[in-house]
Symmetry: D3
Subunit: 274 residues, 6 copies
């Protein structure tokens, strides 16, 4: 959580700007208050620690009492957390704290709905880099809270060779051979392919993971048969929540879905001050 200090400061600054002209003028400097954050719909909660961090920025002596933990499901009307401190800090930080919590809980809730569909299948459901600019680390955290796994965090912690890289290099074989010695031995090599020929070349080249991009179910089956355990198989594109189990059943190892992050709506939460 050390990593998100900058984002919290940015978020508070964009809301407070030159000052909360309502609160600063109407609420006494030393008045205290209690806040309660409540779910207005069923939600998987993610981001409790950030709520604490937001209020702590404004009032270092804030008292924070979570009533659940990240990953818990809270029902409509359920209490998520209580916070106690300066009334000014509660009012000034309320919107920013809620914006974080409802956004991340929205993702966790959305992801959980996919995970629940999987019926404990062995397949690994993963996110993509289709995240909101500036929120990558947090959104990927919410994906894990929701029960899915992360694909690489960015361009720096995994090799994913796409068609343009292949073209620039003169083929999968050359690309894989070349890059193996350039990157850390702790990094695996994944290649994105769209035909069975490419699958074959990738297997021969010794890649660690093969991503079957936008293939239909028949082609996926053929590919898995050919690969036969010599590489992990990732499927991406054209995936609906309905097709998850089918893909799992035919032996896909990894299913990546951009919608986990880019199409989750915020859950409805509110803060009551007492």
């Amino acid at each position: 959580m050390y990593l998100i200090q900058g984002l919290i400061e940015t978020a508070l600054k964009e809301d407070i700007g030159s000052g909360d002209i309502t609160t600063d003028n109407l609420v006494a400097h030393d008045a205290g208050g209690h806040g309660v954050i409540i779910a207005k719909e069923k939600a998987v909660i993610a981001g409790l620690d950030i709520v604490y961090r937001v209020f702590e920025q404004l009032d270092p002596k804030i008292i924070f009492r979570p009533e659940c933990k990240d990953g818990d499901t809270v029902m409509d009307g359920g209490i998520i957390l209580k916070v106690e401190g300066k009334l000014r800090s509660l009012l000034v930080g309320e919107r920013t704290a809620l914006n974080f919590l409802q956004h991340l809980s929205g993702i966790a809730t959305h992801v959980r709905s996919y995970v629940d569909r999987l019926e404990n299948k062995k397949v690994r459901l993963v996110d993509t880099r289709k995240t909101t600019p500036g929120l990558r680390v947090l959104e990927k955290y919410a994906v894990r809270v929701g029960g899915a796994c992360n694909h690489r965090m960015g361009l720096y912690d995994g090799v994913l060779i796409k068609d343009n890289h292949i073209a620039a290099c003169g083929g999968i074989t050359k690309a894989v051979k070349h890059i193996r010695n350039k990157v850390s031995h702790l990094i695996k090599i994944e290649v994105e392919v769209s035909s069975l020929d490419e699958v074959k070349e990738a297997v021969t080249a010794g890649v660690d993971v093969i991503m079957l991009d936008n293939m239909d179910i028949g082609r996926i089956k053929q590919s898995i048969k050919h690969i036969n355990g010599r590489a992990l198989v990732e499927v991406s594109g054209r995936i609906t929540i309905e097709s998850l189990n089918r893909l799992a059943d035919i032996g896909v190892d990894i299913i990546s879905i951009g919608a986990l992050t880019h199409s989750a709506r915020s859950v409805d939460l509110s803060m009551r001050i007492e």
Copy 2:
């Protein structure tokens, strides 16, 4: 657009981290390329300039050729923009550029669907502060691109007195009187009320805008009748896309909807490199 330089740098850094290990190792430093960004579904476009800024960060000599402008509707398969420059910069910047564009276009598209429902009614549809942390200025820009208006940008450019402020001050009358002399004469005073008694007190206190919070349609009508033009009337909460016209017809001046920003999903865009 001067204001978002920091966000663009943050977004690029979170994706690139210590380096794009695939591209840096497989694509020649001086290779050039052409990119085309295409809509994969009908979308109202918002954020073209940011796409340019992202690529320009990576390659100051990038050539940028938009095929539409912000606010235009592009159909499935339509070309949004072309970009030409170093192949490395195109590959490294692709995801960040798309993440901005699909997020903001998602909001603009969502907002447009509300605006289209309004059938040119005189009512003003506005957003809220329920935005993604760090993206406030951009998301509110996308709301305007979609055809709606902005509520205040943050806590600093409008007075909105809520129940907690009222309680802390000893009543609406006191609060309004007190704050009028404290804030700039260019700032209006809005009060959030939930009963007819409060409406009456607010009118007497001379507020500029009255927000009817979570009132049913009957109570809203009564309030408008009482207010009778002496303040602008804003309605908030419990609003669906279906109820917009009805609210407009009974004389509401402003309808604020958090969902404009917090529940828009990204539109599907992709970049083809040639």
Copy 3:
């Protein structure tokens, strides 16, 4: 005060640079000390909290004992505050703390001299954006401490249409009509005018505030007569401390004076260490 952390750090860094080579070499790391800040002339104090923040940056355990509060008048020789902590921190922070305090108290003292002249007239005395770069929020705070009000904080929290905007738009009427729907409903529209014809057009266009720029007293009277309460009247330019009451008497609502901030000299303060 959350907002000025960056400025305090910048101020300390510009003074300390690579280190206080005198203090670091001559004063023991663990020596303690007491500091007393004293007025060397009569002054309205503004900025006590910043003094605390400066020393707290250098020594988180500093003990701060203000002997007055912002807005109080302290006489020559009067004690403003006491501070107790590491001697090194007192010596290193002394100049930065005093520079803030004497600058802001200088403004508050200067403003108070204007306010005292007004003899409780109803007119609102306001500052402008003619502030020292980087210190806007603090200087406008000092203006309020001195007893005057703030005009808009920046370009973002108020519309002020000047001659160049009008020319670019094709007239006051067009400009006002156009902008009303573009900005938040909590923002008022002010137009700067320099002739009676412009006053008339502004009233007809329904602006909220009319700024009479550099008009003589006769023209101001004519304008007020024409406006007749349909907009607030602001007067700017050519204002001396002597003319304040006269402007108030003829019905001006707002008088804006750049000199409140840009021509205040620092008050003389010093710190004695014991």
Copy 4:
């Protein structure tokens, strides 16, 4: 000038905030304009390059045509500079550019009035660290433009031993002996003294500069006689513009005056856009 980039960005951000809502809504993105900055009173100009930098931030293609150079005296009505570029950039940057220029020119003008009094005496007139927080480098630059010299820039580029340092160390002799070996051989040692006994001890200790603090003219003469060229003599405190020449005549080497920076008012400048 490489050093002040951060300050320029801060100044623009504090004025622009979330956007110039007047200009962005009323002036076309591609409209061009000419600006002329004019003196409204006689002034010594300082800060031309900063004006350029401010506008360049907003419009990298700005054309800048200074009509004078830093240090020149411009008469009331005289043209200081012309600038040509996007009208939006001129309007958005105007206030920030002027705020820098009128503040720094204010200092240069104030300093020049002291320097002119000196009638080419050999004495060195210097500033102090009593500067506006965040503007140290610029204000000290304006002092040089005005014709005076700089004392140390901060705590890092000169040793100035004051009474508290002396007390903490056990005497001037010990302090000077101790610190000589701790700091770079390019740094001189100055001691602040308030009695003739201290003067004597300082001379014996071999300090480079002796600052006579708040001494009357008789004591200053005695001190200079005793020092007799063995150290530079600086006088500080109780100095008026009238006493400058007298101090110079009795052999003072350096006169330091805080008022050079902390009590200069802004000069009156304005920008006309055509």
Copy 5:
């Protein structure tokens, strides 16, 4: 190279501080100059682009003419690069540019001496995280320039389970099983072991890489025999330049050496200005 902008600015600021008081006062603003950077000893060059970036910060129109490329060996007296621009910029940037270049070339030269010893053996020589704070990305780049490979870049792009992690988890088996599902499928799992029993447990747990920590040659042989290709074998600790080939010959896959970065001295370079 987009990533190191912040470091270059920091480096320039720490040297320039409040200004280069020698150059600014003695060299005309518009004087031009030519600089030539020369090797004063045989060196493998790394960091040419950074030299360009340093001077470009100070003079955007600088002309940069490298006479070699990163990885080339330049002999004593050989010309590395030429640079042409403002004389002030050359003098101000000289030390910072050289400090980067001689530090990175020092590492590249040091690494090359190890690589040359390896006589084209198949073993992979890698660095560690023992780098100078703030220079990680650059120093690891210099390692690659010198001809060796990188271990993980930081704590984020590779799993390396050490004794404390194992203890905290209750054994290698548990640790490996647990973490496999938590991290991206593109990240390999490495375990650090110090006994043959641990080697066996690690193999059974299915780790990707086994680091033999501080083992003697006999134990290393036994371990390799047991592992038998089921995991990559890394050796670390007690390694001298003399033992490299021996380790390669017995089948070690990876040798990691902290000294590659933490014990390289700068090479001697100088800049001549003409």
Copy 6:
């Protein structure tokens, strides 16, 4: 130490990046631990406070127990410090803390070996600006800990006129005369010379320090004889640890050696967690 906060944050961020994927997944959030940092070879310790700062960033409640102080010599196997707190924080911060400590202690140890050679001679051994980019203040601190002195910290706190400055100005005499009035009276003037003629001109010009650059011992003697106490004499270039005493004996005041900072290797330290 206030000054290095930014560097510590940068160092931690470059190592942690998007998270310590090993520790975060294997060690419980609330587990505690004890760390002991031990010398693996004889070393002069420098940087204890930075170690504390690194761990404090990660765990504000860390307990820090140094077993020695900066400047102490610790033998192989000796305990340097103990630290107690969250196990996660110890594991995450370990490498960064050690990287600082072993780098700075490496310099202090290297410097001490020079100082010990000097046999209490009166000559002043000083460093140069040949430091690692970003670490200037810390490395110069380590030099002082090792027992040597600092030359100027940067371009801002001392005048050092080199051949290019002289050429740009038209001679030493002109340069010295010109600059004396431009810089603070607390700054001394040093000139770098390479011939006896230049020595003579420098003495006549009244410089404070003369740097004899790359002169042989005979020329140095002649120069000292001519200078005869009228300026401090600094020798630079071609200096080995063997020649130190000889230079001291012939009357050199200052010997500057770049190798103090740029050629020190890290000392070997390790952290054991219990």
